[in-house]
């Protein structure tokens, strides 16, 4: 019997772990550079990008704290819908982001685990998205991403995000909107 860490590390090829970590860093660089059209290249055509909401509940109802897929969500986007969001920002008329905010995503705690199928990986990472805009406005939000990432040798980056679930670390949102990507 081996310990948990040894088992987790043994389940994944270190080369994949290194590559996927780099993949996630390149993804947020593209976001921070406002290269949103390129950001779509990180996503599988069948992707689902979604984010539940949170509420405060009694301990006996703790199962209801985080909303389920298909209920109260901040995002629930397929690839076409993600592209609509990107296209909106690229009109240069999305006034809330024109002039654009200055964002910086810090991605950390990247943990790559074996997925359900060959070539598929379950990836968790934490993020802090800082943003400033206009003259005095700034906000930041942290959260956790649970990704299903698949190896895709023909793709731009060698991997594609098949599913992303973003759990923001807020119940009532204390920042004014979620108009960038996470």
């Amino acid at each position: 019997m081996t310990d948990n860490v040894t088992n987790l590390l043994a389940a994944v090829d270190p080369a994949d772990e290194r590559a996927i970590t780099r993949f996630l860093f390149e993804e947020v660089q593209v976001l921070d550079d406002w290269q949103f059209a390129k950001w779509l290249d990180f996503f599988h055509d069948d992707t689902m990008y979604w984010a539940p909401t949170q509420t405060d509940r009694y301990p006996r109802e703790r199962a209801k704290r985080i909303s389920a897929f298909g209920t109260s969500v901040y995002f629930e986007e397929n690839k076409v819908q993600l592209k609509q969001r990107v296209d909106r920002l690229l009109t240069d008329q999305a006034w809330g982001e024109a002039p654009p905010s200055r964002a910086r995503h810090l991605v950390s705690n990247v943990r790559v685990s074996a997925g359900e199928a060959e070539g598929e990986f379950a990836v968790k990472s934490n993020f802090l998205a800082y943003r400033s805009m206009g003259q005095r406005s700034q906000d930041m939000i942290t959260g956790e991403r649970s990704d299903k990432i698949v190896r895709a040798p023909e793709s731009e980056w060698g991997y594609l995000i098949k599913e992303r679930r973003i759990l923001f670390d807020m119940a009532g949102l204390l920042i004014k909107n979620l108009t960038i990507f996470y």
Binding site: A51, E76, Q84, D87, E97, G134
Partner: protein, 449 residues
């Protein structure tokens, strides 16, 4: 009326110095001044009917929701006998918040400070050490959580007011009833919320109130980016159908309510998603609507019941809570017809989520406007300069055709905003509801009395 001195000889800001409705002019101080804000908590939020909960949010005995009236947290609770009661979420002992979760099921509400415990109806049912540490004449019946004395269920929606002299809710709605029913009373099975979002914005609450009352016009410019990507291949309403020279109508109602929609009678362009339109076009549903409303009443665009109960045609229904003069907290629910099929419900939910929630492609640009308006009002000249309401070209009509009360035969107008602020000023001036009713009679816009 001039500035009244405080007890300590400090001037109180007088709203009448800040508003000139004949000129269509508001000074910025009414959106930034702490004193005006405190007056609002007293004169507006203590008096108005405010949305508390929908029946579907608290279906079973013991179900509850924490909401707000102004800055006062309140609990709305389904009682054992099926009725609903609501009370201030403040312990009568030392003021601790009694219930600190957003919603749930309870058998009692116990304060986690000293253990004072309240029943589902807010009555004080248990005080630890009552027997030996309290005098014999201590009576728990004197210390219930403060009840909201007036509650009303309007077609499934619970509203409450602290003011015992407030008129009945339907009188408060006035002519707005016709329009509100056109959104919420269409289907035999009623409606239910299936999603909820909550977020804070750095701007005065009245910016949020004014927009669904009176401002359809901003959409063409503010939301130009969203219109471009969502008109095709999305769950949203097709806004291209509104045309280059849109027709429509705006209404306003005595106690500050207002709203508008696109299209002439019989060829309206509802602000409603395609799935909803398709579901309602089914003969049995169309028949329900016609039976309930008298005809297939189509008035769905935007609407606000003062102070901040907003309804949009795509069935986002929200309130905003004031959080000081410079902040607000929006609570928004997505409502669907209970009897709709799952695909229709899901389409409505996704449409609202992608348009009018924190990640929404419309919502973000509204937030930007309001934030910048608030920021600029830091300036003294800016506050003195204020805002102007001049879009009053379309004449006011009264009881025109099927449309009760005041309205204009144009979807774009500042009339409903001027009416909203007229009611607001009257509330700030009136000593009580009797006086408010008289002031509203006197100030009724565009109708000689």
């Amino acid at each position: 009326m001039h500035a009244q001195p405080h007890d300590k000889g400090v001037s109180v800001t007088d709203i009448n110095d800040l508003v000139d409705l004949d000129k269509g002019s508001l000074k910025g101080h009414m959106f930034t001044d702490e004193d005006i804000y405190q007056q609002e908590l007293d004169k507006v939020w203590r008096r108005a009917w405010c949305f508390l909960a929908h029946d579907s949010m608290i279906p079973k005995k013991g179900d509850f929701l924490q909401n707000f009236i102004g800055e006062d947290p309140v609990l709305i609770v389904r009682q054992k006998d099926g009725s609903v009661k609501a009370f201030l979420n403040q312990c009568r002992h030392r003021g601790m918040r009694i219930c600190r979760v957003d919603q749930g099921a309870a058998k009692a509400f116990t304060c986690s400070f000293h253990g004072w415990s309240y029943g589902l109806d807010g009555s004080l049912i248990q005080v630890p050490r009552e027997g030996d540490a309290y005098p014999d004449d201590f009576d728990k019946a004197n210390y219930p959580a403060r009840p909201i004395p007036r509650l009303t269920n309007y077609k499934g929606f619970w509203f409450g007011t602290w003011d015992e002299e407030a008129p009945e809710f339907e009188e408060y709605l006035g002519s707005a009833k016709y329009y509100l029913d056109g959104y919420i009373d269409r289907w035999d099975g009623g409606m239910e919320p299936i999603a909820f979002h909550k977020w804070t914005l750095p701007n005065n609450w009245k910016f949020m109130a004014e927009q669904p009352t009176s401002d359809m016009q901003h959409s063409e410019i503010t939301h130009v980016s969203a219109g471009q990507v969502l008109n095709k291949g999305s769950d949203a309403a097709d806004r291209t159908l509104r045309g280059d020279n849109p027709t429509g109508r705006q209404f306003f109602s005595d106690y500050g309510h207002g709203g508008a929609w696109y299209g002439e009678k019989g060829s309206e362009v509802p602000n409603t998603g395609q799935a909803m339109q398709k579901w309602e076009a089914q003969p049995e549903i169309a028949e329900q609507i016609a039976k309930r409303l008298g005809d297939n009443r189509e008035i769905r665009g935007h609407l606000n019941i003062w102070p901040t109960f907003m309804v949009l045609g795509n069935y986002t229904i929200r309130v905003t809570h004031p959080r000081g003069p410079g902040h607000q907290e929006i609570w928004a629910w997505t409502f669907v017809p209970k009897d709709a099929d799952d695909a229709t419900k899901d389409s409505i939910r996704r449409d609202v989520m992608r348009t009018f929630t924190p990640g929404g492609m419309f919502e973000g640009d509204d937030a930007l406007n309001w934030e910048e308006m608030q920021e600029v009002l830091h300036g003294r000249i800016a506050r003195d300069s204020g805002f102007t309401y001049q879009m009053t070209g379309a004449p006011i009509q009264w009881d025109e055709g099927p449309y009760p009360g005041g309205s204009t035969k144009h979807v774009f107008s500042d009339n409903a905003a001027i009416n909203m602020y007229s009611n607001y000023v009257d509330m700030m001036n009136a000593e009580n509801w009797d006086e408010l009713k008289q002031l509203r009679e006197k100030h009724r816009m565009g109708k000689s009395n």
